[in-house]
Amino acid sequence: MVVVEDFVFPDELLYTTKHVWVKVEDKTAIVGVTSLGQSLAKGIVHVDLPVVGQKVRRNEVVASFETIKAVVRIPSPLTGKIVEVNERLLDNPETINKDPYGEGWLFKISLRSKSEVRKLLTAKKASTYFKKFLKKEREKYAG
């Protein structure tokens, strides 16, 4: 497990720079929001999930959630077909905040090809990226 400030990046997962984690199991990928991603949004009050059977392309917006003050869209990290969505989130969207790497998963994709998996970041690479990201953020806000 890699830790960047207060945020955890489990080793067994892969990541995008858009705060999405991916767990690849054979030809299926489980997708969720990272602990850093959910902390930027806070207080998730609504979730909009894709439809099972929907074909999705990498980087296409497929899910959204509304926090107390903003709507955040989630791009699909990989190309494929949605095979399952976490319907429990529709009634309990705050689960994403409480357990982003567990019960707060968003959807599962049946992958068209595993070649795109190579484009995802390992926990180590993600931590390097997000260390820089957090530093830049602090500089921005400090003016």
């Binding site: 009050v45 439809v51 959204s64 903003a70 955040v72 953020e137």
Partner: protein, 351 residues
């Protein structure tokens, strides 16, 4: 430190659906410079949050009666009024930018500070509260909403220069929202010119207020706003992106918008029936039938849509449901007859 130059485009009066098309084209563009748009709705219209249910928030019959429609926006929140006396802005910038923080609360603080600065410059004691509202003397004068999409931060908001609060209240669904919440708007909302009058200052027109807001943003964001206009390609693409915001399923039933595989507009004399449906295994899984009839009938079409859900997409079944619906309701259909409605629905789901 070098001051960044951002695009500034004053669209002035614009149809809300088209404005959202412009926001979308800029948010989807890979190369666009950070941009601030100023605009105002060209007619009274309601803006509805992405996740808000229109039927819960609004008295739809009243909306139809007053011909004040609503448009679902990409950002969250509840419902608000827009009209030519309300100045609105949209800010679109890459998430990976040098100015606006990624953290939502901090980004609101920075952007809304532009509004606070503008209001202070005209003599009002404005401040940011509840993350994204700007208030004067304890009453909201500006609301702001944000989304993170296609790698961009999109924030838009409004500043009430004048407001017809009574009409707005009459359009709300008092039953669902609660009388207290609706009637307390009198104590919770205000507008710039009312507050200016209270402090003995002259009211401002939209055009007089615009330079203050522009300057406010420049100071708050530490950027230079350079006058610009949309390119012809942006305008062309925006027309395409605006189509969604005109669709009744996007505005009334967004869950159907995602799945609809049949859409049709049928002209029946001077009237129009619009149908969006999701057909699977010869069944109507979901459907929305709307029309430009009298307010009461328009509302009944929403109830009819619910009745059609789940039935076989066959003419005899559709006829039986529609005929039964209008008989049960004892509705007089002087603008259209049952056969015409059936034919429109059948045509849409069978095509």
């Amino acid at each position: 430190m070098l001051v960044e130059e951002w695009r500034f485009i004053d669209l002035d009066l614009i149809q809300l659906e088209k404005l959202h098309g412009i926001e979308e084209v800029l948010a989807k563009s890979r190369r666009v410079k950070p941009t601030i748009l100023f605009w105002r709705a060209n007619k009274p219209v309601l803006t509805l949050g992405y996740f808000a249910r229109a039927e819960d928030k609004l008295n739809l019959e009243k909306c139809w009666k007053l011909s004040i429609w609503f448009v679902r926006r990409l950002t969250g929140g509840s419902v608000g009024p827009l009209n030519p006396n309300i100045l609105s802005y949209s800010l679109i910038v890459n998430e990976d930018n040098n100015v606006i923080p990624e953290k939502i609360e901090e980004s609101y603080q920075m952007i809304c500070d532009g509004i606070v600065k503008a209001l202070k410059k005209i003599g009002l004691n404005a401040y940011l509260t509840r993350i994204s509202d700007v208030e004067v003397e304890g009453r909201k004068v500006s609301g702001n909403a944000q989304t993170r999409v296609w790698g961009k931060i999109l924030q838009h908001g409004f500043i009430y220069l004048e407001l017809d609060l009574e009409t707005f209240k009459s359009l709300l669904n008092v039953e669902k929202l609660g009388e207290k919440k609706v009637y307390s708007l009198d104590e919770r909302v205000t507008w710039v010119n009312r507050e200016l009058k209270k402090v003995g200052k002259k009211p401002l027109t939209i055009n007089e207020f615009k330079p203050y807001l522009k300057k406010g943003f420049e100071e708050a964001l530490n950027v230079k706003l350079r006058d610009d206009s949309l390119t012809s390609l942006e305008e062309k693409k925006a027309e395409k992106y605006a189509e969604k915001f005109f669709m009744d399923d996007w505005n009334l039933k967004p869950e159907l918008f995602k799945t609809a595989n049949k859409r049709m507009v049928c002209k029946v004399g001077e009237k129009t029936i619009k149908i969006s449906a999701f057909i699977q295994n010869k069944k109507i899984k979901d459907i929305l039938v709307t029309g430009n009839f009298n307010p009461k009938l328009n509302k009944e079409f929403l109830a009819l849509s619910q009745k059609l859900k789940g039935i076989l997409a066959e003419k005899n079944v559709i006829f039986s449901v529609i005929d039964g619906f209008f008989r049960e309701k004892k509705l007089s259909l002087d603008e259209i007859d049952v056969e015409e409605i059936v034919n429109a629905v059948v045509k849409a789901v069978k095509t």
